[in-house]
Symmetry: C2
């Protein structure tokens, strides 16, 4: 092991408790005693927005942070003062270094408001690093810009458990989503243009254009030679192909009705959900119906999240199936000759971005695939690099989208399969609010004020709702990993309610259950959680996948539906069955399954809270992301393009042209 492989304890230069934050605009504080400081802090927390808290703390320079965590100068590419990309060469340098502990933060079935998995993730690493002196790293997803300007706002955590500067996190970051958009749309343009050119040219004209004479020489490009080999044409001289071979080579013969590759934008643009393209005269009548998805729904985002190297990414990009030809055979990005260009567009996006929490703990932000039509987890590469950087005794905390029934199941069966990594602990986030909803409380709706059941003590609702927590604990146990319940405490939760949840959680098989106050107190508020997680990580771990890949597609779907969701059985529509048959015939039957199901219920019906039973899970259609490497059954209709409401978030967003400060992001 070279000297560079030694892992030093992270020197986090911002081991601040909340009260010592430099609240620049709160000058009174300096003249006050301890007690008065507490008041001023409480006032600040109470009346401050997330962005004000973010701005009150100056992040350390990212090159300083990189040095603290043991990165070499030539292993980082700095983007401004607070962001850096980390090169994959690090994995080679540290390959003999044992991995740290790997912690997944998942959640119970949430309300539409979310229950705080991101803040728990950030609070936990703040507690581990700054309060328990254990190296730790948070690995988060990059948020889509769509919701930032639409309904939801940003995704940098909140309160005193945030990634800073939150505006950098929530805006362009280091351009990864933009790179995905560019790559995705180049492929989309290539598909339609190719169909047009094939339909308007003879075999010979097509061939002459595809393999032109340049400076007197006529030759195949590397990607064309690869296509010839796939077609079984073992020739390298363009002049020697027979007419039949020319036709086979030059015509992809795409069936337009089978195109599954959609264009994307990273904007909530509902009018692009269904469109007709090709209506200009120049496209000669080749119109067809198509759609735009939000950029993070692109298969390329799922690939970015699952890839393990540049070589692997390039192979996955080439394997992406975009349509079938008229004989029913898959047509890939490689067939279109665009693999290399896609890899070039993605060459920087593959490097994780380093940022920091409000308390200076290192954070990787990398990839953010949709949590229904894709697997909803941040990248394998960020986790792998972080596990090397923290050292054997350190912790890497990563997050799964939605509830444990969806995000965690996919994390284990899809992401861990791709990475080969074994998680040490699952942290299951619960809130009294969500449990009351599962216990029969009234509807919780984004934008509307909470009903009094949620703001006043109601032990019966809490007790009744804990069935959902219990079920999610049981789901975790299917995978053989210890689970710690983190109760994300709100100021309206009563001590009795908090105690009740923790008690039931422990009775239900959780290794421990602890209340957390990281939102209002930063790492200090998650110290007990950190201690519980540290203990749980030393427990016996008998991690296993839920199903064998070799099982038939339908069988794998049934296992997830019955064992995880609690369904009585599944029911495939004729369309779904026909897709299953097609994928099986095309040789894609051994891929893992990525269920596209609502996250608002364990069942397919969002209004059924608690633990629904006796339901038949309907599979309306089955699709595939062959490059990412999974089959995704649709349970009902899934929107892949959010919309803008009457009053989008952007009404409150502004830029001060003098200070250059961003206002109104949250």
């Amino acid at each position: 092991m070279s000297i560079h492989c030694e892992i030093m304890p992270f020197i986090t230069s911002l081991h601040v408790s909340v009260c010592s934050l430099s609240l620049k605009d709160f000058k009174l504080e300096l003249q006050m005693g301890k007690w008065q400081q507490e008041i001023s802090w409480l006032l600040f927390v109470f009346f401050s927005s997330d962005i004000e808290i973010s701005r009150a703390q100056s992040p350390k320079a990212v090159d300083v942070l990189a040095k603290e965590i043991g990165l070499l100068t030539d292993e980082i590419e700095i983007y401004g003062q607070t962001k850096a990309k980390v090169r994959l060469s690090l994995l080679e340098r540290l390959k003999d270094q044992p991995d740290g502990k790997y912690v997944l933060v998942a959640g119970i079935t949430p309300t539409p408001l979310g229950e705080g998995k991101s803040t728990v993730t950030i609070g936990l690493v703040q507690a581990l690093t700054a309060h328990l002196n254990i190296n730790s790293f948070a690995c988060l997803r990059q948020p889509s810009q769509g919701p930032t300007f639409g309904v939801k706002g940003g995704a940098a955590g909140g309160g005193y458990a945030q990634v800073i500067p939150m505006e950098e996190f929530n805006l362009h970051l280091t351009g990864d989503i933009h790179a995905i958009t560019a790559a995705n749309n180049l492929l989309a343009a290539a598909i339609d243009a190719r169909i047009l050119h094939e339909n308007t040219q003879s075999d010979k004209a097509l061939y002459n254009r595809l393999v032109p004479v340049v400076n007197g020489v006529r030759e195949f490009s590397a990607i064309q030679l690869a296509r010839l080999r796939r077609l079984g044409i073992n020739k390298t001289d363009p002049g020697t192909l027979t007419e039949e071979e020319i036709s086979k080579f030059a015509r992809l013969d795409i069936d337009p009705s089978t195109i599954t590759w959609q264009r994307v934008v990273d904007t909530n643009d509902r009018f692009l959900r269904k469109i007709t393209v090709g209506q200009a005269n120049t496209e000669k009548g080749f119109v067809r119906q198509a759609q735009f998805d939000i950029a993070v729904a692109s298969e390329i985002m799922a690939i970015l999240a699952l890839t393990t190297s540049l070589q692997d990414m390039k192979e996955r990009l080439g394997k992406m199936v975009v349509a079938n030809d008229k004989k029913g055979e898959p047509v890939t990005a490689e067939d279109l000759g665009v693999t290399g260009a896609l890899a070039v567009l993605m060459k920087d996006a593959i490097k994780p971005t380093l940022m920091q929490t409000l308390e200076g703990t290192p954070v990787f932000v990398h990839a953010g695939p949709f949590a229904n039509i894709a697997h909803g987890n941040s990248s394998v590469l960020a986790d792998k690099i972080a596990l090397k950087l923290v050292g054997e005794k350190g912790f890497v905390v990563t997050e799964a989208g939605f509830g444990a029934d969806i995000g965690m199941e996919k994390f284990f069966n899809i992401k861990c399969r791709a990475s080969g990594l074994v998680p040490s602990v699952v942290v299951l986030v619960a809130t009294v609010r969500a449990l009351k909803m599962h216990g029969g409380g009234p509807n919780v709706t984004a934008g509307a004020p909470l009903k009094k059941e949620y703001t006043e003590e109601n032990l019966q609702l809490v007790a009744d709702g804990c069935c959902n927590l219990q079920k999610q604990i049981q789901i975790t146990q299917l995978f053989g990993v210890p689970v710690v319940v983190a109760l994300n405490v709100f100021k309206t939760d009563s001590p009795a309610e908090v105690d009740l949840v923790c008690e039931i959680a422990k009775q239900s098989g959780a290794f421990d259950a602890v209340p957390c106050n990281h939102w209002s107190a930063g790492g200090r508020g998650a110290v007990k959680l950190a201690q519980a997680v540290e203990k749980a990580a030393n427990q016996k771990n008998s991690f296993k996948y839920l199903y064998n890949l070799e099982l038939p597609i339908v069988e794998k779907i049934r296992i997830i539906a019955q064992k995880v969701y609690g369904a009585q059985d599944i029911e495939l529509s004729p369309a779904a069955q026909s897709q299953v048959d097609r994928y099986t015939r095309q040789g894609f039957g051994n891929l893992p399954i990525c269920m596209a199901k609502t996250h608002l219920s364990l069942s397919h019906q969002p209004e059924r809270k608690g633990v629904p039973t006796g339901f038949i899970l309907p599979i309306s259609d089955v699709r595939a992301s062959i490059g990412a490497g999974f089959i995704y059954p649709l349970v009902g209709t899934m929107s892949t393009m959010p919309g803008l409401p009457t009053r989008p978030c952007f009404y409150d967003i502004d830029l001060d042209p003098v200070t250059e400060q961003v206002k109104g992001l949250f």
Copy 2:
């Protein structure tokens, strides 16, 4: 003047002549004598692609470059090893520093292959800095990714007059075009969503959603208060508006048939030229025909190129007119409440990106608006900052799109008006190839081999074609700026042809005319040009605009058509005339004019080469970019979305997953 205002001579650490380039893969060279080196270099130049030449030279670290040119540490934001954004605060620090000389590179009417304005720009600054020891800076446009993967390839210059690393220049750079795409499309989504929400809600419901009760409080956002003031409603309490005021405030009442704001992608996607949007059930039948343009055609790109500060950019973004309401009044981005969000998305894009030439000369890459529906020049801010950095005796060389009749005319009448800067010299780029075409030579087509007229000496064709050069010189003289002709020499040009062009150019009023060999010899090949430019910059300069802004729109169009293009007159279609009337009535009559005309002829007919006369210029339509600040008459139809050919550039583009090197970009 503070100590920071002193300008030191640039210490360019790469004062290389071509033969001393570190051609890593060409190991023979080290063992050779001078003569053999020359051979090895000639072989290298002859057989190397632009990207191989680019890669053979290691760029210096951008922080070293920044220091060399006098930037302070906190004035740059580094993006990787070879790119940095420069903060606008520099303009305040150096405000008392006199500007350097300002040189515009324009061209004669080009062939479809382009005549080398970018390479001349780069060769000239290489010669000035490395060979004449004069501080200099090149200011270039950021290329669109569309053509890079489509037909044209990259735009980093070529041969030994390149910006390096060329793959960084040609790909995502520092994300400015992606930021423009995001901002443009957020506005587009806001327009359609607003129409839908207005059409499906009562005044009261709309108002309640636009001004909701949040935590028991109901108040207008800052941008809503600004709208109330524009409407003449001087109230701040949402509860006090009358029903009529509520309706006026809540309804923009956009007439969908008047929407001029289009969505954009930075991809050559011809199937998006004409589309129908809103066909999903969720959009309730509000379908309409729309289109996507290539991202660089966005008005936001034109604004980026013309803006002078963050405050100015924000104001321009707010003023953008996206449609008319049903009464015929303009509806702006500000009316939609999105100004602040657009400014936030563009807050980093406003900072120019610093790169370097193959010989280490500093380059700003910033903005790249379309050269027909917009003005086609790089940014005012990059030029202004560079003019301060080079010092009073230094030179800033910038480029105009297309021929001088279009790019230069817009540079003077639009860009110089926005900046207040006065150019010292115009360099007019000509090639023997283009002159032969103007003299009656056969068609020149991209992709097809050149006819023998272009590869063999033909003095008659050259002499006949010089009329176009003469005319472009005369156009330059209209603006009172000295003009130096740069003849970009190809290996097939004969000495007699070269002499003939230079002779005619000088007789036609050029201050000087010199052959240039920067493509094959770098700065060394442009030393004579640099000397001529330096002398010309000391000439009397009587710069003036071509027209007064106060003239009626039609009069301004006529002046450009007659004085610049040589048209007999202009003829407006009824649609064009009605738009002129509308813009005049709306108070936009005093804006400068941005002609959208083919660049392949001085006239509107691309096939008419040389100096066409006696034509009537037809104006088919007139549009406006109010935020950018110009009216753009359409002379014929202008495509704002390129397409992919049968065999796009991407067939040759690849990424080596081991070395991470990009192949096939050119």
